[in-house]
């Protein structure tokens, strides 16, 4: 059983809904934003014009489709109504005492008969918050009464049938009685508004009024009147019919929000323009406000502030002004953003305050693999190896974004110094100089048998050494004259004294105090025969150890070094840390594996006892990260122990261990943009930081730089703030780390209306290719229209290197790198296109173009062309050929010698057409595939084709007698609307024996006959299918050997497929590509069990990772943990987790299986320890819920009954192709069932967090 681990590395950032209200307290103006299944509650800071988050974000078990603030008259604060895409509702409130969201009422709208609305359901809230209405089924409205006094204050009324089958919008009329107005469209396309009086039993029709054919939104005006907003007009409608109206600019209305209820309405349209509809007794007026992002949700926050939430680009917080500003000023945070060019237009009433980055819609992505990072060292930017490049945004704010895992280090200077083992950086101030203080940065490098001291001067130092520019360019660094520094032996420790006036150098024989000019001021010799083995310097305190003898020295007045105290330890000292925050303790690691904390200055044993670590410590650090104090211990085997200390330093609160690499760790604290981080240098270096979003939990970010063995912070340098002095491969260099976060996203704005559609990275020429359809003039200067274009961009600067304009009516469809084609040249991209002529409903023809970026000539040349009959939906390189999905067929294209000479000579003008005279692209094999083959993936000889509506089909390549064939192997018969397919590599040979989990008792009673036989074998081809209903399916097909016996008899038998996993992601996956965000780190504890293979991008801007868990036992432990977490830890809304992840399409709804929800499992680390233990043991269900009540409401009996009732419908375990799925596990005690301890599970989950 191979579990699929799915986790979002970059969570979906498209705003699906938002609401404003006084939610957290009667004084606060809150903005609540729903992004997918997450709620972010922020508070508006009116003075600063910024949003401050209230606590961490809240996960709900459902995609939030609607969000409303309810403000009942008898409550001081607002309630929040959330509606999920699966027809659930929840009424939430804020508990100010615990800072948590409380569920006041929740439920589900479900009808046995009736047809679900196409698209999302409609919802409306009464202006006085007495009721809300939901239209989830065609022709049925559910009205709920809100009772604000009691808990669970939502009363469901019976479903009301209405005549409107095709309802478009609805709202409550703001009157004394409940009246609902429904805007609908009939079969002929005519639209009307019908008003109903909502009674307890039924709804009585009040009046009906025909409205514009383009009306899309209705909002209540009060007095029984309505404002009907349409694509080109706004009108006031009442019981007496249409009262008055006014035309507005023609554009689809995207969202509306009241600025002042009944008087001023904010309208955002699909072109991204904001306008204000003013309703006065004299009439209705429309005023254009200015450009903003294309809104998916609008919220007016009060005080002129408005939030424009977008699902296709960055969101914006802006202030509305009464007068337009001719030259708007961008806040600093917005200057470089994608939105900058859009909102920085003159004559706008909108003053941008802040932007919120968003990758949505993520249309395509590519992973930069080999060849990336060619330009590294030449400065920042560019596409580094392991980066993901995405096509993001559409229409108004398109962009290309480069997503990188880990912390990049921007190289500042490479120093001419080899063989360095360790380094220290210290800043000295010249206290003796006259007048202005001079400062000098020294770098002490310890070599095998020598030391070198390099120095650079800070500004103000009148010397031969100059400032930064010269530094970075020429890397000139003066080596200090070897005056007082001992350079003939390695340095053990170095540092500056507390005043910064003197430097301390510790060598084997001496502790030397040196002044600004490098003259030795004082010296403390080691005892004869007892050379110093280890030392640490911190300010005026110097701790030296010779063997097991420890001595504390003190620098007195920058003039003398005296020994303060001495002690003997039980074993030889391995490492010392004296950088204690309180300057009262020193930590000492001994070679026998013990770590002792001693008090200063007496060097007595402190009360703090460090637990056994298993291996001798090689580096120690005591520091305060976030709000907690930690003792960090790096051991020789590449592990890092983090010991959270009690506030009083008396004991260890928490002990965790992670494996970073396999070589000894060296720890160094450094300041980065005002935050203290720790650099853990080893063969896979990482940066530790306290994440505020995860309750201050320590997080690790990989360092995106070659093997760094030692890091030293350059403290106090004005020239290089936050710089680090680094050693990698024995070379010394200075670098500046990027802001510490796990995922680094950099945006490159593109001109409007040039949204990229496909992207590919070619490492051979270090260039990217994108296709897009642009609105504008063709090269010939014809009438403006849409034109397809293929562009090649520099992967360094993202500048356009060259582009090819396609024919009229030709649109790019697919793109891939075709260097594998036998072209004898690199830098070739293959692009497929479709031609839809006016009057045709579908593409009847298309082209495959081979375009080469000639690096020497700096030209983009079209070297090959092939016309085909249909749209080229997908292209992939395959065995030196190309596979193309053309319409419903699968073509195999090869680059072959021309049989006939080229008719037209290659044009040498600027058009870029230079067809190869000797070679051409030909079709060598054609196979009918499916209805419309939209996506392709390759796994060895197998080609998987994703169809528009008929799931996936598998073909296998065969060559007999020089004839190429594509043999249909298998076909998944389910009607799945595929959006992407991707092949999974087979499990590693050593893991095959582990795939079957050890048997347990009959809890998992349903066996998997197919898994046991053909499908458990490593021979089968596995692939992942993502569908338009936001699901993920994993499908297995028996391998070549299994089918070989069959095919010998009858080559045309199509085999069957087995579904191994079904899961609801809740977001439409647009693209899945092979690749990973992290380098392949061998994890000594879980060697190669957890293998990230695939990256996916979604419509809502999430970037996800799919990994295989190639160990059945570990997979089942995680499955149990997921179940326990889902059942025991309450979420706001109390929506059913299993329903959220249940596979759902038009055809079937069944429980999820085979996929591990990484987003849920990784929240385990954020839980308090006692809750973790309860989740782990699982049996104390009731107590765990009581203990975790702070995190949400309490499920009453009715809630549990509702869940039981829901799931009783799913008792019939799904039967699929003779493979019955796993029975879903119940809450279990993981310790008992799987014989593992909590610590193991913690380490396991922590290693999972390092997959992305």
């Amino acid at each position: 059983m191979q579990y699929q681990y799915v986790v979002s590395a970059h969570k979906s950032s498209a705003v699906s809904a938002c609401a404003s209200g006084r939610f957290t307290s009667p004084q606060n103006d809150n903005l609540i934003v729903a992004r997918g299944n997450r709620l972010e509650i922020t508070c508006l800071d009116k003075a600063a014009g910024a949003l401050t988050p209230m606590g961490s974000e809240h996960r709900l078990n459902g995609h939030i489709a609607h969000l409303f603030a309810l403000q009942p008259a008898d409550r001081p604060t607002a309630l929040l109504l959330a509606l999920s895409a699966k027809q659930q509702y929840a009424v939430l409130s804020w508990d100010a005492a615990s800072g948590q969201v409380v569920t006041e009422g929740a439920g589900e709208i479900s009808e046995r008969t009736g047809r679900r609305r196409e698209g999302r359901s409609l919802a409306a809230v009464d202006a006085q918050s007495r009721a809300f209405a939901v239209c989830a089924y065609q022709g049925i409205v559910h009205v709920f009464a809100v009772d604000a006094r009691a808990r669970r204050g939502v009363r469901a009324a019976p479903a009301h049938f209405i005549d409107e089958v095709r309802a478009l919008d609805m709202c409550f009329l703001a009157g004394d009685t409940l009246e609902l107005a429904v805007l609908s469209e009939d079969a002929e396309g005519a639209r009307r508004v019908r008003a109903y009086a909502v009674g307890a039993e039924r709804m009585e029709e009040l009046w009906v009024c025909a409205v514009d054919a383009a009306a899309t939104h209705v909002v209540a005006l009060g007095g029984g009147r309505l404002l009907v907003v349409g694509d080109d007009a706004v009108s006031v409608v009442g019981s007496g019919g249409r009262v008055r109206g006014v035309a507005r600019r023609a554009a689809r209305v995207a969202a509306v929000a009241w600025v002042e209820r009944g008087a001023r309405l904010l309208v955002a349209d699909s072109d991204g323009l904001l306008s204000l509809v003013v309703v006065r007794p004299a009439g209705v007026f429309v005023e254009r406000l200015g450009a903003a992002p294309v809104a998916s949700a609008l919220a007016y926050l009060g005080d002129g502030c408005v939030f424009v939430g977008s699902a296709c680009g960055d969101s914006l917080l802006a202030r509305l002004r009464s007068t337009p500003s001719p030259e708007p000023q961008l806040p600093a945070g917005l200057a470089g953003s994608v939105l900058a060019q859009r909102v920085a237009t003159g004559d706008s009433f909108i003053e941008p305050l802040a932007a919120f980055a968003c990758l949505a819609p993520l249309v395509d992505l590519c992973v930069a693999g080999q060849g990336a990072g060619k330009g590294e060292g030449g400065g920042n930017g560019g596409v580094a190896a392991g980066s993901v490049v995405t096509c993001s945004g559409h229409r108004t704010t398109p962009s290309i974004r480069v997503v990188r895992n880990g912390v990049g280090v921007e190289p500042l200077a490479q120093l001419d110094c080899d063989g360095v083992a360790r380094t220290w950086a210290l800043t000295l101030a010249d206290s003796t100089g006259s007048g202005c203080a001079q400062r000098r940065v020294l770098m002490v490098a310890s070599l095998a048998a020598a030391s070198r001291v390099l120095a650079w001067a800070e500004p103000g130092d009148h010397g031969e050494m100059a400032g930064r520019a010269e530094m970075a360019d020429h890397v000139e660094m003066a080596e200090l004259a070897p005056c007082g520094w001992a350079t003939d032996r390695p340095t053990l420790a170095a540092g500056a004294t507390a005043s910064g006036g003197c430097a301390v150098q510790v060598t084997r024989d001496h502790v030397t105090l040196l002044d600004f000019s490098g003259r030795a001021v004082a010296q403390w010799p080691a005892a004869p025969g007892q050379p110093i083995s280890v030392a640490a310097v911190s300010g005026d305190a110097v701790v030296v150890a010779s063997g097991a003898r420890l001595a504390l020295l003190h620098v007195r007045g920058d003039a003398s070094v005296v020994c303060v105290s001495e002690c003997m330890l039980p074993s030889a000292v391995a490492c010392i840390d004296v950088q204690m925050p309180d300057a009262k303790h020193v930590a000492v690691g001994l070679w026998d594996g013990d770590v002792q904390v001693l008090t200063l200055p007496a060097l007595g044993r402190a009360a703090l006892r460090v637990p056994a670590l298993g291996a001798p410590a090689r580096s120690l650090l005591l520091c305060t990260l976030g709000s907690a104090c930690y003792l960090l211990v790096g051991t020789g085997d590449g592990r890092l122990h983090q010991l959270a200390l009690l506030d009083s330093f008396l004991g260890v609160r928490d002990h965790r261990c992670v494996t970073l690499g396999v070589q000894p760790l060296l720890l160094a604290p450094f300041w980065n943009r005002g935050q203290l981080n720790v650099f853990a240098a080893c063969d896979h270096s990482a940066v530790l930081f306290a994440a505020p979003a995860h309750r201050g939990r320590l997080m690790y970010a990989n360092v995106d730089a070659p093997e760094i063995t030692c890091a030293a912070p350059v403290v106090g340098s004005a020239e290089f703030p936050d710089a680090l002095c680094l050693v990698s491969g024995g070379r010394l260099w200075v670098g500046r780390p990027d802001p510490v976060q796990r995922l680094h996203v950099r945006a490159w704005p593109l001109p409007p209306w040039a949204a990229p559609h496909r992207i590919a990275f070619n490492g051979a020429v270090y260039a990217l290719a994108t296709t897009h359809e642009a609105v504008g003039d063709a090269a010939g200067g014809d009438a403006p229209g849409e034109f397809g274009r293929l562009s090649v961009l520099s992967a360094q600067s993202m500048g356009v290197l060259g582009s090819v304009l396609l024919e009229p009516f030709e649109m790019p469809e697919s793109l891939c790198v075709a260097d594998g084609l036998d072209l004898r040249r690199g830098g070739v991209f293959a692009m497929g296109s479709s031609v839809v002529l006016p009057g045709d409903d579908d593409a009847r023809s298309g082209r495959v173009l081979l375009a080469q970026w000639d690096e020497r000539a700096r030209r983009l040349l079209v070297v090959g062309e092939l016309a085909v009959l249909g749209a080229v939906y997908a292209l992939a390189p395959f065995r030196g050929m190309l596979v193309a999905a053309v319409g419903s067929r699968l073509l195999l294209l090869a680059w072959q010698k021309r049989t006939q000479p080229l008719a037209t000579a290659a044009s040498t003008d600027g058009s870029g057409w230079a067809l190869d005279a000797g070679w051409e692209l030909v079709v060598v094999c054609s196979q009918q595939a499916q209805i419309a083959a939209l996506s392709l993936c390759i796994s060895g000889d197998t080609i998987v084709v994703g169809d528009v509506l008929a799931s996936a089909a598998v073909f296998r390549y065969r060559e007999d007698g020089g004839r190429h064939r594509l043999v249909p192997v298998a076909r998944d018969a389910a009607g799945v609307w595929t959006t992407a397919v991707a092949a999974l590599p087979p499990p590693l040979p050593q893991n095959r024996a582990l795939l079957a989990p050890p048997p347990v008792d009959m809890e998992m009673s349903v066996r998997l006959p197919m898994f046991d036989q053909a499908f458990a074998s490593a021979e089968c081809t596995r692939f992942v299918v993502a569908d338009a209903h936001h699901n993920i399916i994993r499908i297995a097909v028996p391998g070549a050997t299994a089918t070989a016996t069959v095919s010998s008899e009858d080559a045309d038998v199509e085999g069957r497929t087995a579904v191994e996993a079904r899961w609801h992601l809740g977001d439409q996956i647009n693209v899945i590509r092979a690749g990973a965000l992290v380098m392949d780190i061998p994890d000594p504890e879980f060697p190669d069990f957890l293998r990230p293979h695939l990256l996916f991008g979604t419509l809502q801007g999430a970037l996800g990772v799919m990994a295989s868990v190639e160990n059945g036992h570990i997979g089942r432990i995680l499955d149990r943990l997921q179940t326990n977490l889902a059942h025991l830890v309450p979420t706001p809304g109390m929506w059913d987790y299993q329903k959220w992840r249940a596979y759902k399409s038009d055809q079937r709804e069944c429980m999820a299986f085979g996929v591990l929800d990484g987003d849920l499992i990784e929240t385990f680390l954020d839980l308090p320890t006692e809750i973790q233990r309860k989740v782990f043991t699982g049996n104390e269900t009731a107590t765990a819920i009581a203990a975790a009540a702070a995190a949400g409401g309490d499920p009453s009996d009715s809630e549990r009954e509702r869940k039981l009732e829901y799931w009783s419908r799913y008792e019939r375990v799904e039967v699929e192709s003779a493979c019955t799925c796993l029975a879903v596990l119940g809450v279990s005690n993981i310790a008992l069932k799987e014989n593992v301890d909590l610590d193991f599970v913690m380490r396991l989950v922590e290693s999972l967090t390092r997959l992305h």
Partner: protein, 382 residues
Amino acid sequence: MSGIVRNRASGVVSAAAMQRAVSTKVLRSVALAETKRVSRAHTAPVHCMAIDKVEHRFLLSAGADTSIQLFDLEATQKTDTCASQIEPAHHIPAESGHTRLISSIEWYAADTGMFSTASFDHTVRIWDAVELTEACQFDLGSRVNSHRMSATGSHSLIAAADESPYIRLCDLATGAFAQTVSAHAQGCNDGCLKLWDIRRADSQLYSLDAGNSLSTNPSKRAAISSVLFTEDGCRVVSARSDHRVQVWSVTNFPIEPLVDCHISIETGIGSSAFLSPGPIGASMTSAVDGTTAGSEVMFIPNGNTTVAMVDISSGQQVALLDGHFAPTTCTAWRVGHLELYTSGADSEIIVWCPPANEALSDAQMEARADAWSDDDSDGPNN
């Protein structure tokens, strides 16, 4: 299609809208399957078919020859022309069960272990689908024209319509008749559509006869040949022998049908349109599943050699499928596979599917090229 796929990826067009557009187009292309056929197992007109609702894999057919054939739609054998032929997996021989024409057949909705048949031999019989043995029978005393089981398997009642003026509800749990509802005047096909709520005492909800009552002469009223609940349970479709199709809402008291349309049965190739208003109504099916997202179509056997494909929500006739050599009798839609099975008085069962859905292997291509030398219509490149 290319543009709409692009727009789905960027969110400009919702997935639902894209699916409706594509499925409408694909459904319009449904044609005789070239690579698949069902072997001829019946010797007399086939009057009823059913595909199971669990795996959408097993097809039952029965008719005038009193035999019941069970086909596994995924077990195929190759024929000379390299088409996949579906052979009967099992069958109940003629005269071994029912003794007269079998008028309707239905799978139990919840699993494939049981099915039921109704026959002119006055019985409704329940069969064990694994052993193909009779489990029990209900004797109604007159010819049973039609019967229906629960569409969801949520209860064990079978509604049976015989020549008496009543609808009888047979209870599988007790083996007895649970209820009898008064339907029509005996022997009179009065063209009325009646709806009952069998949970209520006054169970008849209403009688729908729009347009029919205008005709004063009862004998001129067109009989309803077929009724069908739509998949959402909110509407009823009725087809009359005068090729009128009406869609009714069941949620409120309808005076007028939601849709009222006429089917054109002219195929354009001169097949004579004759009617067979026999006692058995032709059975229609709706094709509403994931692959036909949004677009609701139904298939109506016309009584001549054609089957009409009609959009339920608009009443538009989408296509006319002509392939049988004798009057068509019933249709069955295979959910999720885009396959339609039709049967007729010519004892044949025919498979229909979108042409693009047929992957031809090399051997099939060659065989087809031999049989139809006009191949290569795709042009030189494909």
